[in-house]
Symmetry: C2
Subunit: 401 residues, 2 copies
């Protein structure tokens, strides 16, 4: 059998995966966004994760938004977002759509892998069901499903997809062998398992653990701030203990940490378990930007600045440092909240490509001297020189944390 | 100035400290328990932490329960328990008593150090006040207070007091110099700071972080158990991620983890902050023995054992593995709960010295063949051989987690 992989969804997860796969296979990169495919064909990654030369394809691999092109594939990898609805319930719409698309081209012996955040059971009980229904094929007889959670950390060059250990789960020894061949071209470190639900659990738990530990730091940060104890000095002292874990407080946006706790909690609820620990951390992380809002207004008052006259500049709007992504960004939320209160509020973020969000002008560059106060929201590395200048000139400056 | 240290409270924290100090100084070991002092004088440590030969003293150091003997000291180290009341509010009774004792012998230029778990401000706002009142001396003029949190991990031979980094905090350069001399004889790794409140915060936060991470594992354990997903397989998979942190679920008793979250929460409350993350973890850790109670009864039913006729044996009652301490032990709580339900319930724990607790007979040894089911509560290393035998004989056996 000649493996013909395809990647469905060419975002932060799918694109790096596709680019690895096409080095070894004739790989199809599918995205339903015509504009995304069109940019990629021109070797432009609007997420700024890849350079032009990295987008030149090999092995007759190609980008497409045409369903027909998927017909030749026999190993589909779905890498679409699994966000939450406004009420924090899992939103499986993108996933459903992808399964419907695949069901139209699914053939005997095909394998479908999923990379998104799931709760235990989504691969076998949700995705497989949709694939079965529309294709009239039977899972585990005619076709097979697997789960290989993405562990991509946007903005982190050290833990790129080819350097991290990848869990690959699918039932059946032969399927594992094929999956190993495919994923072996992505990374050399693979952990194989036949138990899909365990792999689904592992993925969601990894992110929950991180969310929780940042949540604790946020809680302690608040207590320190209110009691006028230096949070960072406390952390430095605590770090002298052999088993203390260094985590920074933060706004914790993005597509994993603000989402995964709800996926797992929704799953737990089905078994009568209220995940109070998990949800309490997410709750404080969700509300941290409101705490920062109060902190900033207090600081403005301390500086005796006028909310109507003073010119204030915000640095960075993305969901975390060194990424261009503004989805689920609490920095953005905080900015819009402050905008209602502060008349002359500007913002600069050179990483954001689309410089217009909700009629807001985002500056690529800025003149330090124009501003009475500069507040750093996300601490992009790109701001380093500017901040040094700000400090040298003894301008009023505030780090969010 | 010749430093004459004394240690007030010769328990799990005070005794190892004293034993280190007496190697360099003429040190006074004070405990208000006459029986404790009497055993120590006979070179017997009922906590089983030290051997006879380790309790032979040097430099004319001695054990005492007489207040008068403390008069010659000028550097007091208080190592008494700071537990919580039944309503989880900080119980500073032992501490108050110690401060009152010291206040009777306190002289000009004396230094008083505290080792117990505090929340920020207890050293300067609570202890110093008691010492001032009774001695008629003035803090930071006549005498000085410092805080050096204990980081002893009972049962852990690797991180003994001489190998761990110790935070030493007191205001004033000269005081720091003296404190460094004293604590330098305990461990070579010392972190000095003049800010006592930061040191108090660090101590309590270290334990809270651990309590929280175990709390998360308990929550996930419950979800896995109910959804019939193998918790340990999930952990193994998650551990393949570069930043996953390995923690085990557990009953989490003892004097630190079940206490420190309440100390810090009580402090936070004074500033209007509800520590929901911290308390949610403590809540699940407090209730985990009830979950285990249900799990055991279900298992007994699955095994078709009779609660009135079957003979069941519990292994271990201490608050954690490889210690002799039963205070704040959830294993003990769980045992008494089961005892109400199971007629023939025996227990063995060779580590517990006092083999009679509430008229309960704790066996030093046991005969495997006498029992229909054996349940391991704490996993002491000492049980290893017996458990191998149990498994070899294919006896019914259950690990708590």
């Amino acid at each position: 059998m000649i493996i013909k992989p395809s990647v469905i969804g060419l975002g932060y997860v799918g694109l790096p995966l596709f680019l690895k796969l096409q080095k070894k296979f004739k790989c199809i990169g599918y995205d339903n966004s015509i504009s995304r495919v069109s940019s990629l064909k021109k070797c432009i990654d609007t997420n700024k994760e890849f350079l032009k030369k990295e987008l030149i394809l090999k092995n007759k691999s190609f980008f497409t938004s045409k369903l027909q092109s998927l017909k030749t594939s026999n190993f589909y990898i779905v890498a679409v977002p699994t966000p939450v609805f406004k009420n924090n319930m899992p939103n499986l719409e993108h996933l459903k759509k992808s399964c419907l698309i695949i069901s139209k081209v699914l053939k005997k012996n095909d394998i479908v892998f999923f990379e998104s955040t799931f709760y235990p059971g989504i691969t076998e009980n949700y995705c497989a069901k949709i694939l079965e229904k529309k294709s009239k094929l039977k899972v585990n007889r005619d076709f097979f499903v697997g789960y290989s959670p993405e562990r991509i950390n946007p903005g982190d060059k050290k833990h790129s997809v080819d350097k991290i250990n990848k869990i690959v789960s699918i039932s059946g020894k032969e399927n594992l062998r094929i999956a190993k061949k495919v994923y072996g071209s992505v990374t050399k470190k693979i952990t194989l398992t036949e138990n899909i639900k365990e792999a689904e659990s592992a993925k969601v738990i990894e992110n929950i653990q991180r969310d929780l530990n940042i949540g604790l730091m946020n809680e302690i940060y608040k207590v320190c701030y209110k009691s006028k104890i230096n949070f960072y000095s406390v952390m430095k002292l605590a770090s002298t203990k052999w088993n203390f874990l260094k985590f920074d407080p933060g706004l914790v946006g993005g597509h994993c940490l603000p989402v995964d706790p709800y996926y797992y909690s929704d799953f737990a609820k089905k078994f009568g378990i209220k995940t109070n620990v998990i949800l309490s951390a997410r709750k404080i992380n969700n509300s941290m930007y409101l705490f920062m809002y109060d902190k900033i207004l207090k600081k403005i008052k301390d500086y005796k600045l006028d909310l109507k006259k003073s010119k204030i500049l915000i640095l960075g709007l993305t969901y975390k440092k060194n990424v261009s992504d503004i989805r689920n960004s609490f920095a953005l939320k905080l900015f819009f909240l402050l905008k209602k209160k502060i008349k002359n509020l500007d913002v600069s973020d050179p990483l954001i490509i689309n410089k217009k969000i909700q009629n807001l002008k985002i500056f690529e560059n800025f003149d330090i001297d124009k501003y009475d106060l500069i507040i750093n929201f996300v601490n992009h590395d790109i701001f380093k020189d500017k901040i040094l200048k700000i400090k040298k000139k003894k301008k009023k400056y505030l780090d969010l944390f």
